[in-house]
């Protein structure tokens, strides 16, 4: 799968409170409304301006904190093609795969705000069209690739009737 879009740069340690804050707890059963506030406490202009296919580009430990799966869900609902970061918090990473949001562990230092990126998940490549630079990333563990390919964990279990590791 190849995804093309523009980079939205975020810093280190973007927490799930930045992405889906507790003060909007009451919107968790109204995801379209919650999605209007995605990442609001990190960059208030993001939700209103993000375009389909754009990338959220974080630094270290993206998605730390609460297990709220609403966080990756509303990033996906905003049209984001993938989240790129130097590292991810464990629960967020797993949640993202489960809801079908691609997450890429790659050195994001050289990516700047607004860079035009092309992400090839299968080949493990991020091509920065603006900088003329290609970054590589290791493939996901097989079980995660399978879940992502099946369209998330629910679709995977629906298809296989069970959790299949191979």
């Amino acid at each position: 799968m190849i995804i093309k879009g523009k980079a939205w740069k975020f810093g280190d340690q973007i927490s799930t409170d930045h992405i889906a804050p507790g003060r909007l707890f009451h919107l968790r059963s109204n995801l379209p409304e919650l999605a209007k506030h995605v990442l609001e406490d990190a960059r208030p202009e993001f939700a209103g301006q993000v375009k389909a296919g754009d990338f959220v580009v974080g630094g270290r430990n993206f998605g730390l904190g609460s297990s709220r799966e609403h966080a990756p869900i509303i990033i996906k609902m905003a049209g984001v093609g993938a989240v790129l970061a130097q590292s991810f918090a464990r629960i967020f990473f797993r949640n993202a795969i489960n809801v079908g949001l691609p997450v890429v562990i790659v050195d994001t230092d050289s990516i700047e705000e607004g860079d035009e990126l092309e992400v090839n998940l299968g080949a493990g490549k991020v091509i920065n069209r603006t900088k003329g630079k290609t970054l590589t990333f290791p493939p996901l563990p097989a079980v995660m690739t399978r879940i992502l390919d099946d369209g998330g964990l629910i679709a995977h279990v629906h298809k296989c009737g069970d959790i299949k590791l191979d």
């Binding site: 003060r23 406490d41 270290r60 904190g65 609460s66 629910i154």
Partner: protein, 419 residues
């Protein structure tokens, strides 16, 4: 090669020996979800067309974050969870019963078990010797539906703590110190195994602080081998039969070892806006910071021992007139015991406001939201921007003793200086 504690527990649930790095499917003993994550978990199960769950008596829905509900949307979520639970046989721990992690420890979590929870602080159960870890709603939905989950067996970090904790220094200070050393992702995807004579000497309430905050260093779990403290804690809950002996093999292999001399520790404070931004209380950036609100409660430090300590330090005194003091017991059991002992009376007389058991102000839903620019000293586990409901506010994390000292002085104060 010997097994670490997490390898032993996961192996026992995967039906074979396992080693760090392997990906396995494991049987799940206990599942929990709360009012913020449960509705999504239920909707995911409904997408699969499931009307039955694998082991409903081992699944608990906790209505603890919005307890009691401040808004109609959340009241509707509560009803949705109660109705699904009634149809499937899932247990409900309703409003006022307490925070999931506290109630799980009182009633359900047992050594050697696997507990998955749609709440990141599910790792609290590691204090009882369970492999307990937080996951998202969908993972927990599948755990509830099928009674199993997939796991990557984590590498382990041995956290060896020796020596007696100095006066007015607690497990909270130790854990903030550890998180400061490791960083918020220093133990990412790994298991922390706490051991050493300091850990053996800690009561269950203090052990739960360590396991609870393991996730703040990125860890998947924070485990403590079961021992006589575990046995007597379970006996006090009327669950003596739930005890079993579980720990690492003597020749287990660790990714690394962190050695800490407890005698050298000081009261620690985590500064806004990340938990790993840790400094000693007497540091110039910390001591003397004006505090508008002190909050004592949560799954980290809302237990009877914490409230007793707070009451002991406030007895016969009044909180600072410019500082609010909010106290929320972690469970109804804690609340009742604190009432019977006169702890609540002492706190009220000292100027505290006491709310009913639940997550309280920690999660920013209601009951203690800060004003713009205000500072709160909290005994909770997170100080992220916006965590307590206002992204323009500042949260400092510390022990209940530091909370007591700060409530008296109206600014962050060193608990060692309070008589």
């Amino acid at each position: 090669m010997g097994k670490t504690m997490v390898e032993r527990i996961i192996g026992q649930h995967a039906g074979r020996e396992v080693s760090a790095g392997e990906i396995v499917v494991a049987q799940v003993d206990l599942c929990l979800a709360q009012d913020g994550t449960g509705p999504l978990a239920v909707r995911q199960m409904q997408k699969l067309g499931l009307t039955k769950v694998a082991n409903p008596e081992n699944v608990v829905f906790f209505l603890d974050h919005a307890s009691p509900s401040p808004r109609r949307e959340l009241s509707n979520d509560h009803r949705f969870l109660r109705e699904f639970a009634a149809r499937t046989g899932i247990r409900v721990s309703d409003l006022g019963e307490g925070i999931s992690h506290q109630v799980m420890s009182e009633r359900y979590t047992r050594p050697g078990a696997i507990l998955i929870g749609a709440d990141s602080h599910t790792c609290t159960g590691g204090a009882l010797g369970a492999f307990a870890t937080g996951m998202g709603s969908t993972d927990v939905a599948i755990g509830i539906a099928l009674g199993k989950t997939w796991l990557r067996v984590p590498e382990s970090v041995k956290v060896q703590v020796n020596g007696a904790l100095p006066r007015r220094v607690y497990a909270k200070d130790l854990m903030l110190h550890i998180i400061g050393l490791l960083g918020s992702d220093g133990a990412d995807y790994q298991s922390l195994e706490f051991c050493g004579d300091t850990i053996r000497a800690l009561g269950m309430s203090e052990r739960m602080v360590l396991s609870n905050m393991a996730v703040e260093a990125g860890a998947k779990c924070g485990l403590i081998a079961s021992d006589e403290v575990t046995r007597s804690f379970l006996a006090e809950q009327g669950r003596a039969k739930d005890f079993c002996s579980i720990g690492p093999d003597p020749d287990a292999s660790y990714e690394r070892t962190l050695e800490i001399d407890a005698t050298s520790l000081r009261p620690m404070v985590s500064l806004p806006h990340t938990v790993d931004n840790v400094k000693p209380v007497d540091h110039a950036d910390v001591v003397g910071t004006k505090i508008d609100q002190v909050f004592v409660g949560t799954c980290t430090n809302g237990r009877l021992e914490d409230l007793r300590l707070l009451a002991r330090m406030l007895r016969g005194k009044r909180k600072h007139p410019d500082t609010r003091l909010i106290v929320v017991p972690a469970s109804k059991k804690v609340f009742l015991a604190a009432l019977k002992e006169g702890v609540i009376e002492t706190l009220l007389e000292a100027g505290a406001l006491v709310n009913s058991p639940g997550c309280g102000p920690c999660v920013g839903v209601h009951c203690g939201v800060l004003a713009d620019g205000e500072c709160c000293l909290s005994t909770a586990n997170r100080n992220f921007k916006g965590r307590m409901g206002n992204p323009e506010a500042f949260i400092y994390l510390a022990s209940p003793a530091t909370a007591a000292a700060s409530a008296l002085k109206g600014e962050i104060a060193d608990p060692r200086e309070v008589t």
